[in-house]
Homo-oligomer: 428 residues x 4
Amino acid sequence: MDIFGNIESNVRSYCRSFPDLFTKAKGSKLVAASGKEYIDFFAGAGALNYGHNNDFIKKQVIDYIMGDGVIHALDMYTQAKKEFLVTFNEYILKPRKLNYKIQFPGPTGTNAVEAALKLARKVKNRTGIFSFMGAFHGMSLGSLAVTSNSYHRKGAGIPLDNVTFIPYCNTFSNGFDSIDYLTQILADSHSGVEKPAAIILETVQAEGGINVAPVDWLQRLAELCRQEDILLICDDIQVGCDRTGTYFSFERAGIIPDIVILSKSISGYGFPLSLLLIRPELDIWQPGEHNGTFRGNQLAFVAGRAALEYRKNTSLSDEVRLKARLLESFLKEQIASIHRQIEIRGIGMIWGVDLSRCGEGDLAKEVARRCFELGLIIERVGRGDTVMKIMPPLNISRDELMAGCQILGQAIRETLSRKSADGLKGAL
Amino acid sequence: MDIFGNIESNVRSYCRSFPDLFTKAKGSKLVAASGKEYIDFFAGAGALNYGHNNDFIKKQVIDYIMGDGVIHALDMYTQAKKEFLVTFNEYILKPRKLNYKIQFPGPTGTNAVEAALKLARKVKNRTGIFSFMGAFHGMSLGSLAVTSNSYHRKGAGIPLDNVTFIPYCNTFSNGFDSIDYLTQILADSHSGVEKPAAIILETVQAEGGINVAPVDWLQRLAELCRQEDILLICDDIQVGCDRTGTYFSFERAGIIPDIVILSKSISGYGFPLSLLLIRPELDIWQPGEHNGTFRGNQLAFVAGRAALEYRKNTSLSDEVRLKARLLESFLKEQIASIHRQIEIRGIGMIWGVDLSRCGEGDLAKEVARRCFELGLIIERVGRGDTVMKIMPPLNISRDELMAGCQILGQAIRETLSRKSADGLKGAL
Amino acid sequence: MDIFGNIESNVRSYCRSFPDLFTKAKGSKLVAASGKEYIDFFAGAGALNYGHNNDFIKKQVIDYIMGDGVIHALDMYTQAKKEFLVTFNEYILKPRKLNYKIQFPGPTGTNAVEAALKLARKVKNRTGIFSFMGAFHGMSLGSLAVTSNSYHRKGAGIPLDNVTFIPYCNTFSNGFDSIDYLTQILADSHSGVEKPAAIILETVQAEGGINVAPVDWLQRLAELCRQEDILLICDDIQVGCDRTGTYFSFERAGIIPDIVILSKSISGYGFPLSLLLIRPELDIWQPGEHNGTFRGNQLAFVAGRAALEYRKNTSLSDEVRLKARLLESFLKEQIASIHRQIEIRGIGMIWGVDLSRCGEGDLAKEVARRCFELGLIIERVGRGDTVMKIMPPLNISRDELMAGCQILGQAIRETLSRKSADGLKGAL
Amino acid sequence: MDIFGNIESNVRSYCRSFPDLFTKAKGSKLVAASGKEYIDFFAGAGALNYGHNNDFIKKQVIDYIMGDGVIHALDMYTQAKKEFLVTFNEYILKPRKLNYKIQFPGPTGTNAVEAALKLARKVKNRTGIFSFMGAFHGMSLGSLAVTSNSYHRKGAGIPLDNVTFIPYCNTFSNGFDSIDYLTQILADSHSGVEKPAAIILETVQAEGGINVAPVDWLQRLAELCRQEDILLICDDIQVGCDRTGTYFSFERAGIIPDIVILSKSISGYGFPLSLLLIRPELDIWQPGEHNGTFRGNQLAFVAGRAALEYRKNTSLSDEVRLKARLLESFLKEQIASIHRQIEIRGIGMIWGVDLSRCGEGDLAKEVARRCFELGLIIERVGRGDTVMKIMPPLNISRDELMAGCQILGQAIRETLSRKSADGLKGAL
């Protein structure tokens, strides 16, 4: 694998955590060149909710390519786009009584975030955006400005302006109430903070450490936005597409954001795609005002439509809720019991095992490394990368799910034991 | 097609110029649901240099999907990426004695431009970037700041800072010399302009109106950057990948940029992909400092590697240069002769027919509309969208190339005649 | 007085609150052309701590002008500057064991704030500044960015960047603790807020509504700055020069800011002057790096030195503390008793009578207007300008002080009665 | 003089060029503590057009202070302000048929520039400002952003945004025409430069190196602003108040700026004062929207009014024009003849002797040092501080003027001889 070290930029990262050469993948398994199989609790950072090479989707993808369907067409009218739009409207929007216009920006999450911020500023003719501490929204300059991680922010090379960060719901000490705080600074003519065009929200912070916003907090936030004439943008890139047990993550709170951003699993097959849902009265874009060569990825439309059928045919939401309970039980009973300082947080099929208070050192890093040895791919997130993030494909079998969880438990136990032994040795 | 108007955002644009429903595509032809065929002089804005559904590439794409190759893997090590890297290195870099590290950012051009600007600022620890008037680099906030079109810039909703625009080589009046100007403001302690981290360059401005930078201008610019310790970033997104008759557009000038950006046709099949070539000593990225879920689009690696083989097997560069002469002759002889104010500009297989001085009104728009009726898809670029852009797939057959050119000539003649007749009527 | 309306810009403001034509002034009295005398509880917004036309200072000013002393010399060496420096060092710095370098920027408070911010950013090589909600630091772009009042901020016409606002000590609800908040966001790698170069502080917010920071809060803030390597800038423009009962306002907390800004009463006679006190190791200015034609106002040096002698000869600090008690007693007993929702806040000889919760409407505005009719000049500050600000010259006689207070009491009582009567009428 | 080195900040600058301790001043002479007299070709950087301690003005200043006139009153109505307004209107505006509102911002030039920029952005609702290369407008953040000197700009510590620099009229090579350039970038939708709110102009760049804009260039600029709906701000801080032979420097071109900024000699006696002249329809300030404690410096009003009388009584403009010819002749005949590479530039009583092309090294610095030894105070300006700036009080006697010029000539000759001798020695 020297080729990567020799030719690929030093910026590469996941390959450092998962140092094997992957060749094939199916369902919840990744297979290395050596034949070693890995259970996948990472799921392409959320892009593979329907599993690797899902056969149902695959068939339609193959058929489309075989038939010389249009592969690239920018934002021209195509059959593939039409069918995606109709299906998304029929299967997702209508049943939820949601009325949104759909925009296809460049096919990555950050492109969509950029579009949302531009549109919000244009609609409200205000320059500011509020974002939450712990938020992750992307790496291009506009998205980076609303991303809170200092490691990434430093990469900008210029000051990141026009954004104010607010503590997220439950991550600040001493009963700090973010909504009260927001209310107060918006009401105060001397807060030094102008009313923003929008507040950008993750209902569950994934990169921030698996922080799940309570329903009433989400409702109070949405109400505040309404009262103050501030747009609410929901970045559902990672936790939309059924991840939390409903198609959109905000459904559990009964709120309706002004703009919703989807990406990652929206194409169903790991193909790049992203989209914005926009309340119709906000769709004041001029033609081509925001553009991009790969907006409207046709093959992703094909796969995305198939994915919408797949999730419907398999009653995937129900399945997620069932497995969520299984997962929650295991984590709270089998994992939390390993060390009294372990904290379990999550919803649906995204869960965090927070190891930040279980002693010093790179505990989580070592746990992840041991998991990998044992055949489990699992990411770390949160401050200091100390939270193990469990995010398998939604259609993972219960056996594989439990097998992965067992590996995680074993890795935590082993690592803590070794650390404890090392500590004793160190003390002697 | 009401579905699009009802559901898709008002931001859609190309569909307004090319209002038909497309279903299939092959080579240099797009096919509508009605069965009508169109010659494609647009080529996915440069993403389809090797033609729609190129059979050589298609076979490898199909095989990969059929074999359950990894489709999504962020920046993990995969067989598909490895083969792409090796092939790109062997076929492209080594023969040109180029020594670059390769970075895969999010798979759109603007993601790559963002990465390049961040890296340049980080390397040089300076905040400014110089860009050229007429430049187009993308729609996310960092890329938009170096894009000159006021229509797009207004979309930002905030001031776009840390960029200074310089007149492009041959687009300013009265013998203005951009390199002299650059030299002077960099030397002047009272120019008010700080030395930038980088200058971002298109060797041929495509969106800016098909402006081809002369070789000596490119050489003087590169030399100035070297002397002043400023990075030279070449955005080869649209005119790289053989478009100008060499693989990289800057080869004709014998210069070596510090950072090169490729996208569009790099995947060969219209799949989203982009990459940066970085001089090794500049590759000071920290792991994951710039990231993105769809970086490392595996299927695009497969198609991209196939495309590199395809271009080699078919001696595509030679073919381009031959057809370029054919094209140039036709345009200068058959098109320029229609009206003495028509200006022809271009290189390789990217040419512009500048109609801006052929009378008033939406001449170019009407020409494009008439072309579309006659079965030719052709885009307009430049100030006021007055330049017809001829950019077919590179492997278009000579017959189709000539057929498209004939349609363009017919459309210009007809439109000018009608306008002239209207003018006479208006004068009566 | 039509001349003013006809010729002077609409920006004029205090003349609207105090609409008389003033000709002469002495001690704590302003005299109008009509002969009407006003007690001055405004004191030139703090520039007249030693009274109008103080005879002791006046004599030295007259002598200097009569003797053709240098009046204007930028930052050349002059006898007047030398004597000021020596006296300030001997009388103020040495007795307090303070070791500061002195800089004379342009002679207004905002010029000095600009210099302080530039120096802090230069020293720390960071772009951010923290400021407090309610803060007022000036109207030029750098100072305005750290000023919180939205009315003033809107005047900038561009986004005001590189500043983060933090709630001030005791102005936020529910036991919010600013120091805890600061500690948390500085410790959190995902707060989205970079470590600032400096925190700029008023120990008593005057324009913000007479908010007095508690001693322990000031101490915790200073300690936090020390631990986090953040400069502490104390803007003592309005409440320095003996206003709070000690020469510097921060003396009561025993803290030593890294940079101190003085202006307003530093010249003793209402002449423009400002200065920075800089910890010697931070004085990394290059010669002339910050300049200005009126830096080093010679006549202000003469008057300023005389004022330093005057305050010493008259034991002014002791006098302030005595009168402060008198003032506090009166306000808490005679004024607070008028209405149970009146809140009294203050220290030394700067006090606020907060009328914001005493019913609706422009109560404070009407009280100020009635005071003016009755011969008292008094300003309003705070959110909505609802706090009457009592800030007479420090050497006001006790009789005049009490007379002014009586007028204020009368005005509040009368206005409340009238409002109450109006309310009754309105209700009938 | 150790006291200064020990206590005063390293930022002090002019004292390094003129290292003597000054005590008294009269007319065009400064007197040191030692009794040594210096002819003043510096004139307080333009603040002393009417000479040091001008007796006519002095009398009125003394009378005002003796009579306990109001010294400090912010922007309240005072007799002193009224008389200044009336006199300025009668003596300056009306005879020139100028219709302006007058604003008194904080009493330094940079405060006034800040106010002008804020007002322009507010009026036009645009964020950009154009400024000229070589321009100097002040050190606070807004003014610094339109100041071109990189030495000063670096002091900001943050990027200085929202300003575009344009080459000044005659300082760029090869027949570059700034007005053509401006016209072109404003007309070009792809210039990357948005239409600015205003262009800020010095009709003579003083700090920039004594560059005098030709009349037709000024007229074309004014016309361009009018056509493009861009405000023209004339910063007449240094070359207004009769310096160029007319009261306003722009009178020679017959143009009428939208906003004019005066400071420096407007108070006539070296007291801090500045003002804006605003076309009435642009005076959309809200009351107090821009403020400052020392706006409306009363003693400066008294002196300023006296100065207006003085210049009228002495027909100063005529006197300036006469002496200008004398000065020009001397410089072009006696100074330019010393070395064929000396360039003479100037107008009225501001002239530059450009030594930049007379060999290497700190020639100008040594000339200035030698002048100082010989009893002449003279500043250096321009790129590299290589231009000797001749700017005596306007009422300097012809004898003193000639005496100063003789010293300058002697210093240049001596320094060139010595350098030449050193060069010979170095060559041996």
